[in-house]
């Protein structure tokens, strides 16, 4: 099978969505002529025209707000926010509006739209380009939140998001855009929203990550096997809302231990939600407290110090050790 990078997979999914349904459109800053600052929309405007791949004025609230109107009135917009850190500008339109249109109108109106946004650390970006803000949206009923960690899921989740009847926030770990290539089927396929994936099977401890921390968890699992012979299971949550509680519980019922890894700050993070669900659903199987390895509770730091701040492999390995030897 041919191999693609994540950014190519994202581009391909949008191309196929635009091809398959003329209601689909892409809008955002620099997505047209420039093909997106990361080239996610490369070539799409040339192919589908300026009315379907639209360079908008520099206004995030306007991008999301008009996408709501477009979706309500029959279009299928894929809106891009250039970096997740700039989504604060559109927060009202997402949390106060998109998330509640179905609810407010008792199902009369719906907002089938996708908001894509890159984020994530380790790439030496200026301020607000790296922050992981998924928790804000997981805490917003009415919005679905997905995050791929590899090219295959990137395409399948985006296609599922485009077909989904509700607003989906599709978060792209920019560090993984070109980190590696992987097999990506050429035809249309969907990775179901709401389903976690088991990346590595194991028996002693469950490592749970999403997006940029999935490769970190996989490396930590390898290191723990080499050092202590531990068998780690790695779960890629893939969808953060609605969360696949059954997959978490099933895994922890088998392993009895869990370590959650995310780049976002710890307090009020999605890791806390994962830990709570495990405690609720697999309490009697637990042999140790659920551990969290996360960003520290500060704003995302400047590039010169970010490596020390990020939850790296060594911190995960340590947490695994602590959990297994509890």
């Amino acid at each position: 099978m041919r191999q693609l990078t994540m950014i190519q997979a994202v581009q391909e999914a949008m191309r196929m969505a635009l091809e398959s349904d003329e209601r689909v459109m892409v809008l955002g800053e620099d997505v047209g002529r420039n093909g997106g600052v990361f080239r996610a929309t490369e070539g799409l405007q040339a192919r589908f025209g300026e009315h379907r791949v639209v360079d908008t004025p520099l206004a995030e609230s306007a991008i999301v707000g008009t996408a709501i109107g477009l979706a309500v009135a029959g279009m299928r917009p894929i809106a891009e926010i250039q970096f997740l850190g700039f989504i604060y500008e559109a927060m009202e339109q997402i949390a106060g509006q998109a998330a509640r249109v179905r609810f407010r109108s008792s199902g009369q109106y719906t907002v089938p739209m996708v908001i894509r946004a890159p984020f994530g650390g380790g790439v030496r970006t200026p301020e607000l380009h790296s922050d992981s803000l998924e928790a804000l949206f997981v805490h917003t009923p009415g919005v679905k939140v997905v995050m791929p960690s590899n090219p295959r899921d990137a395409k399948g989740l985006l296609l599922a998001a485009v077909r989904d009847p509700d607003p989906v926030l599709y978060l792209e770990p920019l560090k993984l855009y070109r980190a590696f290539r992987a097999d990506v089927p050429e035809d249309w396929y969907e990775v179901p929203i709401g389903q976690a994936g088991v990346v590595v099977e194991g028996d002693d401890v469950t490592l749970i990550g999403w997006g940029p921390t999935v490769p970190v968890a996989v490396k930590a699992a390898e290191a723990a096997r080499e050092r202590w012979g531990y068998s780690c299971e790695v779960i890629d949550l893939r969808t953060l809302a609605p969360m696949d509680t059954a997959a978490l519980v099933a895994s922890v019922e088998k392993t009895g231990r869990a370590v959650v890894v995310h780049e976002a700050v710890q307090t009020g993070g999605v890791g806390a939600e994962v830990a709570a669900r495990i405690a609720e659903g697999a309490f009697l199987s637990l042999e140790a407290p659920v551990a969290r390895v996360t960003g520290y509770d500060t704003p995302y730091p400047p590039p010169a110090v970010e490596d020390a701040w990020l939850p790296g492999v060594d911190r995960v390995v340590e947490a695994v050790r602590r959990t297994v030897t509890f």
Partner: protein, 362 residues
């Protein structure tokens, strides 16, 4: 029925022609001020070119070059005083350096060092704003505070053409107008917001005319004419200081370089347009011609200045590169006024790790 219709562009205010000849009123300034501004422009250009090189060599990180915008920045900062408030975007280094922001700090900013965001304590310069248009509101607040506290100072916000599309821009102009705040909105219309040309950013013919809707004054000035920019900014500052309220200035200029070092303008920008601005509308060239015609400048002074600028940029690079390394544990110290127990625990955790785990990182 009377319809408010959008008008065509008003002419740009100018003092100098492209060849440096005088077509307007030359500001009444002592000779050394004229020369100072020129020196600042050349130093800025030298800094900018050096910074681009440093980025290519991997010695600094992402950098947003300002070449082409020296007149807009230095002309406007020249009309500000040290205790006026300044709210810059990421592309203001020419103006900031002229205002007293040390070049080595400017470089530290692009090295991702926290010290790069800190202005010297004798300046009222806010950290570089990354979020487009947010700082306009802060400037309104700061100007408002000056008004409420009976201070003479004014506030100035610096931003680009793209910023005028954000809600914050409109909210700032309206709020400043309602409270007659001593604030200057200084827009550098450099033709582009990354890949989006102004013609696609707005359908209004100018940025300046947007002021009218908010009941404040707007001016469109040739942003590559340092004397015109100075004159306009000076007038705006005087008006604000004397209680006359805010002003919106649109300085029409051009970004000669890429948006940032991560950008490739050949993907979206016409080479001919760029060439024309570079070869016929360079703000430094124009001002130099003016000074030469006045007998204030010559080739000998020029080469001495270039040499001197190169040396001071060299010094700044040296200072920046020998600056103490950033301490990761310091990020915990400035989250709150005093560190909560939980955060102190996290700080200890990180410190233990960076000491014990040297090089063992992810």
């Amino acid at each position: 029925m009377e319809i408010y219709a959008p008008g065509g562009p008003k002419p740009e205010y100018r003092v100098l022609n492209e060849d440096g000849s005088v077509v307007g009123r030359v500001p009444d300034l002592p000779e050394d001020r004229f020369i100072d501004m020129y020196r600042a422009m050349v130093l800025a250009r030298t800094f900018d070119e050096r910074a681009l090189n440093l980025q290519r060599q991997g010695r600094i990180g992402t950098y947003a070059p300002f070449s082409g915008q020296e007149a807009a920045q230095i002309g406007s900062f020249a009309a500000l005083e040290k205790d006026d408030w300044v709210f810059p975007s990421y592309r203001e280094w020419a103006g900031l350096i002229y205002h007293g922001f040390p070049m080595d700090r400017a470089l530290l900013y692009s090295m991702g060092h926290p010290a790069g965001a800190q202005a010297p304590p004798d300046l009222r310069v806010f950290p570089v704003q990354i979020v487009i248009a947010s700082q306009l509101l802060h400037a309104v607040g700061a100007g408002w505070a000056c008004q409420l506290r009976g201070e003479r100072s004014v506030a100035a916000a610096f931003f680009g053409d793209g910023a005028t599309s954000e809600g914050d821009f409109h909210e700032a102009l309206n709020m400043a107008s309602v409270f007659r705040v001593p604030v200057i909105f200084f827009c550098q219309n450099n033709g582009w917001a990354i890949s989006v040309p102004v013609s696609h950013q707005m359908r209004s013919a100018t940025v300046a005319q947007k002021a009218v809707a908010y009941g404040i004054d707007g001016v469109r000035v040739d942003g590559n004419d340092v004397l015109a920019v100075f004159e306009v900014m000076h007038r705006a500052v005087e008006q604000a200081r004397s209680g006359g309220g805010p002003m919106l200035i649109e300085a029409v200029t051009y970004r000669l370089g890429p948006h940032t070092t991560a950008d490739d303008p050949t993907r979206y920008r016409d080479e001919a347009e760029w060439k024309q601005w570079r070869e016929q509308r360079d703000p430094i060239h124009r001002y130099r011609k003016f000074l030469e015609k006045r007998g204030l400048w010559d080739e000998e002074k020029e080469s001495a200045l270039r040499e001197e600028s190169r040396r001071s940029v060299d010094d700044a690079v040296l200072r920046a590169e020998s600056h103490p390394k950033a301490d990761p544990s310091a990020v915990f110290d400035h989250v709150y006024g005093s560190i909560p127990p939980d955060l102190a625990r996290q700080k200890n955790d990180l410190m233990g790790r960076t000491i014990q785990g040297k090089g063992a990182g992810a």
